[in-house]
C-alpha cells in the first residue's frame, strides 16, 4: 500500500514497486478540507485537489487501484492543533514529523492490515537497512535529498512493514523514470510550504498576533516586531533594524511579547534538552551515547553526546556550539548513515 500524493516522487515509487513485482494499491489521505486553508483552488502543494486527481491518473496509468481516505479529524487533532498551540507558545514545530509519526504511518499500517496488505510504502528519500538482524532507517543513498529527518517518530515495529522505493536513487534518476512513464507531473515544483498552508500565509491558520518590542540580550529596545508568530529562532531577515553587525532572533519571549535578538556569536549554543523521544536502537541499558545530531531539516549532523534522563527525555551536548538550536524543532540522531532516534527540542542552554 503506497501513500501517493500525485507528486513525482510517490508517482515514481508506484512505478518502481510495480517493476519490482509488487501488487500495489495507492492511497491518498485527505487531511483537511481544501477550502478551509487555501484561497487558491490549484496550489502547487502536495495535497491539493489537483494533485490528488494526478495521483488518481498515475494509478490508473499503472493499472492499480487508488483510494482517497478521509483523515481530516486525525490530522486536525494531531498536527494542526499542535501547530497552532506550538506557535502560541513561542516554539517552532515540525508538522511533517508529527504527521508521519501520528497520522501517516499508523493509518497506513492500520488500513493495510484491514485489507490484508503486507507492506506500506511512501515516496520519501530514505532507506531501510538491516544491521545485524535489526531493521533500521538509513539515510537516502544520495545525501542531498535525504528525508530521514522527518521520519524519526515512526514506531519501531512498523519498519518491518515499510518500504522506501525511491531512497536508493538520485533525484535525476527519478525524474528520468517519471519521463519514461510519461507522468505529466514531472514539471511539478516541490514546494517548501506546508500542505495545509499552501499560500505560505501562516496568519490564515494562526490568526494575528500583536506587535511588541525587539530587544537585545541586555534588554535595550532596538525596534518593534510585528507579532511573535512571524518569527523563528535563528531568523535574520525581516527584523527591520539597522545595526553594525547582522542580528538574529535568539529567543521568543512570549510572556513579555518580546523578541530577543543578538549577534551571530550569541546564536551559537552547545546544550539542549529534548523530550518525546523515539529510538530505533535499544537504549534501555545506556546512560549515554556518542552520535551526531541534526537539529533542523537543513543542518549538517554534528558530533554530540546524548545523556538519557528518564523515560523519554535526554540532554544533548554538542562538541562544538551549533547555530540556532530552536525549541519545538526535532533533534534527530545518526550513527553515520543510520537513523538512531530523535526527540523534540525543549530547552536550550
Amino acid at each position: 500500500m503506497l501513500a501517493i500524493s500525485g507528486g513525482v516522487d510517490s508517482s515514481v515509487a508506484a512505478a518502481l514497486l510495480k517493476e519490482e513485482g509488487y501488487e500495489v494499491v495507492g492511497i491518498t489521505f485527505k487531511n483537511f478540507d481544501y477550502n478551509d486553508y487555501s484561497k487558491d483552488p490549484s496550489p502547487k502543494n502536495c495535497c491539493s485537489i489537483e494533485t490528488l486527481n494526478k495521483a488518481r491518473i498515475v494509478c490508473d496509468k499503472l493499472g492499480i487501484p487508488h483510494y482517497v481516505i478521509n483523515r481530516v479529524d486525525q490530522f486536525e487533532k494531531e498536527v494542526i492543533a499542535n501547530f497552532k498551540q506550538s506557535y502560541e507558545s513561542g516554539i517552532t514545530p515540525n508538522p511533517c514529523v508529527r504527521c508521519n509519526s501520528l497520522v501517516r504511518w499508523p493509518e497506513l499500517i492500520h488500513l493495510a492490515d484491514d485489507l490484508g496488505i503486507e507492506f506500506v510504502a511512501t515516496g520519501h528519500y530514505a532507506q531501510i537497512a538491516n544491521v545485524d538482524g535489526r531493521l533500521l532507517i538509513q539515510r537516502a543513498e544520495f545525501g542531498d535529498k535525504d528525508q530521514t529527518y522527518a521520519l524519526w517518530g515512526i514506531k519501531r515495529q512498523y519498519l518491518a512493514k515499510t518500504l522506501f522505493p525511491v531512497g536508493k536513487y538520485a533525484k535525476q534518476h527519478i525524474m528520468e523514470i517519471a519521463v519514461k512513464y510519461n507522468f505529466a507531473n514531472t514539471s511539478y515544483i516541490e514546494s517548501q510550504d506546508l500542505c495545509f498552508i499552501p499560500d505560505g500565509n501562516y496568519t490564515d491558520v494562526l490568526g494575528i498576533s500583536s506587535p511588541g518590542e525587539i530587544v537585545d540580550v541586555d534588554g535595550n529596545v532596538l525596534g518593534e516586531h510585528k507579532g511573535l508568530l512571524h518569527y523563528t529562532v535563528g531568523q535574520r531577515r525581516g527584523l527591520g533594524i539597522s545595526s553594525p553587525e547582522p542580528l538574529y532572533v535568539l529567543e521568543i519571549d512570549l510572556g513579555a511579547n518580546r523578541l530577543i535578538v543578538g549577534t551571530e556569536k550569541q546564536i551559537f549554543k552547545s546544550r539542549f534538552l529534548a523530550k518525546e523521544s523515539n529510538w530505533f536502537i535499544d537504549i534501555s541499558n545506556s546512560e549515554k551515547i556518542r552520535c551526531r545530531a541534526k537539529i533542523r531539516y537543513r543542518h549538517e549532523p554534528a558530533a554530540c553526546s546524548v545523556i538519557f534522563a528518564g523515560s523519554d527525555k535526554m540532554e544533548v551536548v554538542f562538541d562544538e556550539p551549533q547555530r540556532a538550536i530552536t525549541p519545538g524543532q526535532s533533534a534527530v540522531f545518526y550513527d553515520n548513515q543510520i537513523l538512531l532516534g530523535g526527540g523534540v527540542i525543549e530547552a536550550v542552554f
Binding site: 485527505k30 485537489i49 487501484p65 482517497v68 481516505i69 478521509n70 488500513l111 484491514d114 485489507l115 490484508g116
Partner: protein, 387 residues
C-alpha cells in the same frame, strides 16, 4: 476478475435505447433550439417534444418543466430561487437532516443572506413526521424542502401528507425526487408538490441533464441570466440531446417499472435474507417497508465501512459508504448518524444499490465475498474480538 456494480444510486449506465435516441442530436440535428432557421427549428421540435413527453408521464404542463444540468442545479434553483423571490413573506426554510448535500448546502448558503433554516430530525427509520413539520413552520417560513426518497438508505417519505401540511399554512413545498424517479411510480398531482427535482443519470439517462418541475404561478427568481431560454427561468443554450435522452430514460423507466421493480425486490430480498442468515451482528438501516426497491443499507458491527468498501472493490464489487465527494474520499454519513445510530455502528454501514444489470445469479457470489471479507475484517478487529 468479475466486476459487479452495486452503486446504482450514485449513477447508472446509459440505457442503449437512450443512447440511440440521443445520437441524431449531436451531428445531424445539431441546431440551436433558439435559432430561426430550419436547423434551429428541428432542434426546438425535439426539445419541446421531450418536454411534452415528460409532462404527460409526470402529469403536469410542459411549461412547468425546466431542463437543468442535473439534480444539484434543480435543488439550487428551487431553494435559492424561491427563497429570493419570496422575501416579502419571510426568510425561513424548513428541511430535514437527511437531505442530499445539494439541498443542505443550498439552505446553508442562504445564511449569509439572512435566512434561517430549521432542520427536522427523522425517526430511527428515517421518516420525517408531518407533526414535526407543522410545529417547525413559522409565519415567516417561505419554503419546505424534504426529499422523496433518501439516496443512502432508500427510505420514502410521505410527501403528499408533508406537502399538505405546508400548504395548509400557505408555504411552498419542494421535493428532491432524484432517487425515486424511475424507481417508483408517481405523478405530480399525487404528490401535490410545488417543485420537484429530477436527475437524468440516476435513471439510465445521460449525465448533465435534469429537470425542475415548477408549478404554474410559483414565485421563483432565475439564478442564471442571459437569453430567455426555459421560460426565462434558466438562461443558456438548451441541451437538446440531454433532454431527448432524459425523456427516453423516463419513458423506459415507466414502461418497465412494474416488472423491473418486482425483479429488484425479489433480488434484494434474497440478498438481505442471505446476509441475515450468513453474517452475525448486522443492523438493517432505514425503513424496511417504505423503501425504494433497489436500495438496502446494512451496518456491520465492529468493522469500518471504509475497509469494507475498499476490500470489496479489490474483489470487484462496487458499493459505497457515506456520501462520495469530489475528492472520492469517504466522508462519514450524515444520514445514518441523523437516525440516531451510534457513531461506531454508523461507520460500518454500507449501501448496496442494485439496478437493471444486477443479476440474481450474482447474489451467491456477492454473499460469498461479503461473508469472507466481513469475517476477515472481524478476525483482526480488536473491537470485535473484545466482545
Amino acid at each position: 476478475m468479475k466486476r459487479i456494480y452495486l452503486d446504482h444510486n450514485a449513477t447508472t449506465p446509459v440505457h442503449p435505447e437512450v443512447f440511440e435516441a440521443m445520437k441524431p442530436y449531436f451531428m445531424e440535428t445539431f441546431g440551436n433550439a433558439s435559432s430561426v432557421h430550419e436547423f434551429g427549428r428541428k432542434a426546438r421540435v425535439a426539445l419541446e417534444q421531450a418536454r411534452e413527453f415528460i409532462a404527460v408521464i409526470l402529469k403536469c404542463s410542459p411549461e412547468e418543466i425546466i431542463f437543468t444540468s442535473g439534480g444539484t442545479e434543480s435543488d439550487n434553483m428551487a431553494i435559492k430561487g424561491s427563497a429570493f423571490a419570496n422575501t416579502s413573506r419571510g426568510k425561513h426554510i424548513v428541511t430535514s437532516a437527511i437531505e442530499h448535500h445539494a439541498v443542505l448546502e443550498s439552505c446553508h448558503s442562504l445564511k449569509r443572506d439572512g435566512f434561517e433554516t430549521t432542520i427536522l430530525k427523522p425517526d430511527s427509520k428515517g421518516i420525517i413526521s408531518p407533526d414535526d413539520l407543522l410545529k417547525a413552520i413559522r409565519p415567516d417560513t417561505v419554503l419546505v424542502t424534504i426529499m422523496h426518497a433518501n439516496n443512502e438508505i432508500g427510505t420514502i417519505q410521505d410527501i403528499p401528507k408533508l406537502a399538505e401540511v405546508a400548504h395548509q399554512t400557505g408555504v411552498l413545498f419542494h421535493t428532491d425526487a432524484v432517487q425515486t424517479t424511475g424507481k417508483i411510480p408517481y405523478t405530480i398531482d399525487q404528490l401535490g408538490v410545488d417543485m420537484l427535482s429530477v436527475s437524468g443519470h440516476k435513471l439510465y439517462g445521460p449525465k448533465g441533464i435534469g429537470l425542475l418541475y415548477i408549478k404554474k404561478k410559483t414565485n421563483i427568481r432565475a439564478l442564471s441570466h442571459g437569453g430567455s431560454h426555459e421560460f426565462k427561468r434558466r438562461a443558456g443554450t438548451e441541451n437538446v440531446p440531454g433532454a431527448v435522452g432524459l425523456a427516453k430514460a423516463i419513458e423506459i423507466a415507466w414502461r418497465d417499472m412494474e416488472s423491473e421493480s418486482a425483479r429488484l425486490k425479489r433480488m434484494v430480498t434474497k440478498f438481505v435474507d442471505g446476509v441475515k442468515s450468513r453474517i452475525n451482528d448486522i443492523t438493517l438501516i432505514g425503513d424496511q417497508i417504505n423503501r425504494v426497491p433497489n436500495t438496502v443499507n446494512i451496518a456491520f458491527q465492529a468493522v469500518e465501512g471504509e475497509s469494507i468498501v475498499l476490500s470489496l472493490d479489490m474483489k470487484g464489487i462496487a458499493v459505497s459508504s457515506g456520501s462520495a465527494c469530489s475528492s472520492g474520499a469517504v466522508d462519514p454519513s450524515h444520514v445514518v448518524l441523523a437516525l440516531g445510530i451510534p457513531a461506531e455502528l454508523a461507520q460500518g454501514s454500507i449501501r448496496f444499490s442494485f439496478g437493471r444489470h444486477s443479476q440474481e445469479a450474482d447474489i451467491d457470489y456477492i454473499l460469498d465475498t461479503l461473508e469472507t471479507e466481513i469475517a476477515r475484517l472481524r478476525s483482526i478487529s480488536p473491537l470485535y474480538q473484545s466482545r
